[in-house]
Symmetry: none
Subunit: 418 residues, 2 copies
């Protein structure tokens, strides 16, 4: 079994000056890892011709695949394309497909195609054009001297589009990689260390060729089983058999075997029950609504949200009582219950979630420190509320509060259907 080695090279003075964090190289190497390609080095260089020529030469001596991002914009400081052409003694020519794509993007936005943008469609003649449907900079694929060299724009969503739709499928075809199979088991509402002690007995008994990784994120832990081998079907059933052993232990903390986001698992539950959802967000300030509506098709079960950032809006739009706010405060069980019930009524939904907390950095007290968040879920059979203590960091509180609210809803729906 031959290993396939890759190097990832990010180009841009702004990376070297420390003005932006390079997240592209992490994303790329994680994707390569999934198809069994090993990243052996990552390099960041500036927008300088000599630096690009040097790394092209060096990296080809070590790796089978070179993946470049950055330096493909229309401006003068972006020189990746012409430097790669120079390296291969090649010239740039307008590629008709690339030009069609640039033209379409400009026309769909009602802009005229300038000469500087027409030049974005020029690529080295030795390159295979990779279609970037979400931007004007083309992707390029070179198969030279038995090495694969790929160049993509540095804008993360453009790079990700190109990787998913053009680069990874081609790499899978070009190289015959060993079979690597991943299975992801998603859990929510249990911390990494608790989970680890709960399933230690199972982890220790896993066979040599199946490895377990814990991938924690906001309120969730994904368990990733990775197996490698030559017999794909055998490997698949081995991983399934190992995974099935642990489901009963995980119980309701297990929420998806299909590597879905919590929002997608909840969408399925709502649709299955012909139910709809509304939200009322104070401290999460729109993030909960955004995390739901980021999913295509959400309008079939999501009615909408009321975000009453001021107390007046809480009274006007959700019917929270003035004396409740005065006696218990906006961050209280009493208020959050009235918010959830008010949203359910105003938006005429089956379920309604509400959040009210102290996101920080200011506004905390001894009794209610920053990170105190009240959550409520109103449903057909009543309302439940729960208090959580998150962190001192505003953005973490916003995101963690949203995920915890979604889990409160998930458990309510599951309990009602038991």
């Amino acid at each position: 079994m031959k290993h396939i080695y890759a190097e990832v090279i990010t180009i841009g003075d702004e990376i070297l000056y420390g003005q932006i964090t390079d997240t592209n190289s992490q994303w790329i190497s994680a994707e390569l890892d999934k198809i069994g390609i090993k990243t052996i080095r990552k390099t960041s260089i500036g927008d300088q011709k000599e630096a690009i020529l040097d790394i092209l030469k060096e990296s080809q001596e070590r790796a089978d695949i070179l993946i470049f991002t950055g330096g493909l914009g229309p401006t003068k400081d972006d020189i990746t394309k012409k430097t790669i052409a120079e390296f291969f003694n090649d010239t740039l020519e307008i590629n008709p497909d690339a030009l069609g794509n640039v033209r379409e993007l400009f026309e769909s936005r009602g802009f005229e195609l300038t000469e500087i943008n027409r030049q974005q469609a020029a690529i080295p003649t030795k390159a295979t054009y990779l279609n970037n449907a979400v931007g004007t900079a083309p992707g390029m694929w070179f198969n030279q001297n038995n090495k694969i060299i790929i160049s993509m724009p540095g804008v993360p969503f453009e790079m990700q589009y190109l990787m998913e739709n053009e680069v990874l499928p081609r790499l899978r075809v070009h190289f015959k990689t060993p079979f690597i199979i991943h299975k992801i088991i998603r859990t929510v509402g249990i911390g990494e260390s608790f989970l680890a002690s709960k399933i230690e007995f199972w982890e220790d008994a896993l066979p040599q060729h199946i490895k377990l990784a814990y991938l924690p994120s906001m309120g969730q832990v994904r368990l990733r089983l990775t197996g490698s081998g030559d017999d794909k079907e055998k490997l698949k059933s081995e991983i399934e058999a190992e995974a099935e052993k642990i489901y009963p232990v995980l119980g309701k903390n297990l929420y998806s075997l299909d590597n879905e986001e919590l929002e997608q698992a909840i969408a399925k539950l709502l649709l299955k029950n012909n139910a709809t959802l509304a939200t009322a967000e104070s401290c999460t300030g729109g993030y909960l609504a955004h995390s739901i509506t980021a999913n295509a098709g959400s309008s079939s079960y999501y009615i909408g949200s009321i975000i009453p950032y001021s107390n007046q809006a809480k009274m006007d739009l959700l019917g929270v009582k003035q004396e409740t706010l005065e006696n218990f405060g906006a961050v209280s069980e009493e208020t959050v219950i009235q918010m959830a019930e008010g949203a359910k009524k105003a938006l005429k939904s089956t379920y309604a979630l509400a959040t009210s907390g102290i996101a920080g950095p200011d506004g905390g007290t001894n009794e209610k420190p920053v990170g105190t968040i009240w959550l409520a879920c109103a449903g057909p059979n009543g309302t439940v509320a729960r208090k959580i203590l998150s962190t001192k960091t505003r953005l973490v509180n916003i995101q963690y509060g949203s995920k915890a609210a979604l889990n409160l809803l998930r458990k309510m729906i599951l309990n009602e259907n038991l």
Copy 2:
């Protein structure tokens, strides 16, 4: 004027596998930049002896300073220290200061000092010990063959402690560095290529020692001027003078000289005018509210949002008329104007922004393709609406629509104050 060049090398398999994002190299190069040391390359390699020996050799040929992080833990996979010793034909010896530090840390936590931890105090004899008061792994400084080589642990707060207290002060003394000054000009509402042709005359006339870079992101372009020279005050005023030439050309597309986000610039405008803001979001689904409320202190100018994802909610909560929805559809100038005016009324705000569009991937028609977004801003002197055409990608449309809405508000406030 001699430039001082550095390379930053991060060591760790977890970086190559894409399991963690390397934030150390960004932090280090930003600090180096502040004292005029230019990072010319960043490299990430795994915990392998050959990879470390290779990069030690290569980087010394290019740079004056090599800064390593990672691979200094007590476990077997951490081999940075002994590999550097091997490179210099050196041996490891227990350093008394390092041992004192390790002993103190263990005793203060009530732990016994094991042999494996005693070995953390062993460093190459040619190294100067750098005191890591916040962890057990020592920092090391080598001055060999006229090159400075620094090795620090990869744990971010330990690395930062060592940089601030040991490394940066020594580098300032060792090298006499030129001054590097950056100035960032933030623009919104004009694409990179249009901006580039508009300011080409100015870019071409910049003096040799002042360079311009375009840093594009969603709906925005940051212009970064970077100058280097020996006279700090002179350089500063030269950069200011060059920057000032372009402000009139940028006009209202220029929104910040303080490197602020658009939301922060708008917060300042609202507070200055004693004005408040509400939002009504259909296609942006909460993202606009989130981008505002992600900023601490937003409750002093932001009243809240109504997110009427269903047509019924648009009528119930914002007073959009049924015949408007029937005759023009939810994605129309007429609807979005009623949404903005309805939100202004319901939430009792000075300004209200509304969005209604086809985020995709489904729901597009020939007349209104995916990416069609109507925006409206209602203010004290009336309401304006604008249509934009974004992309086919749901998340891009959500984010781009939100930024464009904010810019519509910004321009309305500016016009009223002219």
